[in-house]
Symmetry: C2
Amino acid sequence: MSTPSENSSAALLKLENQLCFPLYAVSRMLTKAYQPYLQALDLTYPQYLVFLLLWEHDELTVKELGEKLLLDSGTLTPLLKRMEQKQWLSRRRDPRDERSVLIALLPAGQALREAACHIPEQLLGHMGMSQDEFEQLRSQLNTLLTKLA
Amino acid sequence: MSTPSENSSAALLKLENQLCFPLYAVSRMLTKAYQPYLQALDLTYPQYLVFLLLWEHDELTVKELGEKLLLDSGTLTPLLKRMEQKQWLSRRRDPRDERSVLIALLPAGQALREAACHIPEQLLGHMGMSQDEFEQLRSQLNTLLTKLA
DNA sequence: CAATGTTTGATTGTGTACAATTAAATTTCT
DNA sequence: AGAAATTTAATTGTACACAATCAAACATTG
């Protein structure tokens, strides 16, 4: 597959030899694969990720959400406001430190958990991977993430 | 690492057990890693991907670009118009089929190739991966892409 | 305690992404 | 040829993403 000449700058510049493109494309296509399941719950994919954290932690600051999701306030603030409008969560300043905003689950957000809890299993089907392949890929991506983050 | 209980719906719903999140995060962080190199050329990451194809093919329709990048016209049309304004490429209807728009490199776009040709090698440094790891990850992602696309 | 510096969100502006709709051109079918 | 179906871009509207800037609250230090 890789002849000596394929390490030249010219070959490295071809789309098909990039690692970045399949990452970018798979990420978008996987988001699309979630879409039918999430749309049924009126959720977007980044909102689903916020819920994954809130279902685990119940209350987090915007900063903590940002650190865990690697998203900044320019993304999170409007996204969380939309989720607040749907009565899924509450936003209030931390009385002990007015700079922080505490995000907490409301009953409607808590209830969504039951409706969403089978989404991961359903997505596994779309990917058609063995448990081993899944784990290996996840581990490689997490390693790469720590190098890039 | 994975106890029997970790295959429950509850465990599958944790952010840390997802494959989708590291994919999403690595994709965004990798785009960020390109940023300093691309910004020096006044390019965005998706625009860079368009160039990778045009440097190979010289002239493509919007449809062909969309098929190769898995992007639709709602994304490509405004993106290509911005690139046209910078005189990097031309947009014209195909005389033989007026429904198609031909995208062709202009000299300024052709010239950018020399300025960009060492970007892939520089990015490899940021990822700190061996050739083998790189190839293995790329191959797994491409397999997954064909399943999702 | 007052001045300085830091932390934390919010805001603004630009650029993707993508679903859904529209419109024009072409192809197909009778 | 003419109607119907298909193909291809463009448009519209919503929702991220993120750099850059701002503003308020807190912490630190002399």
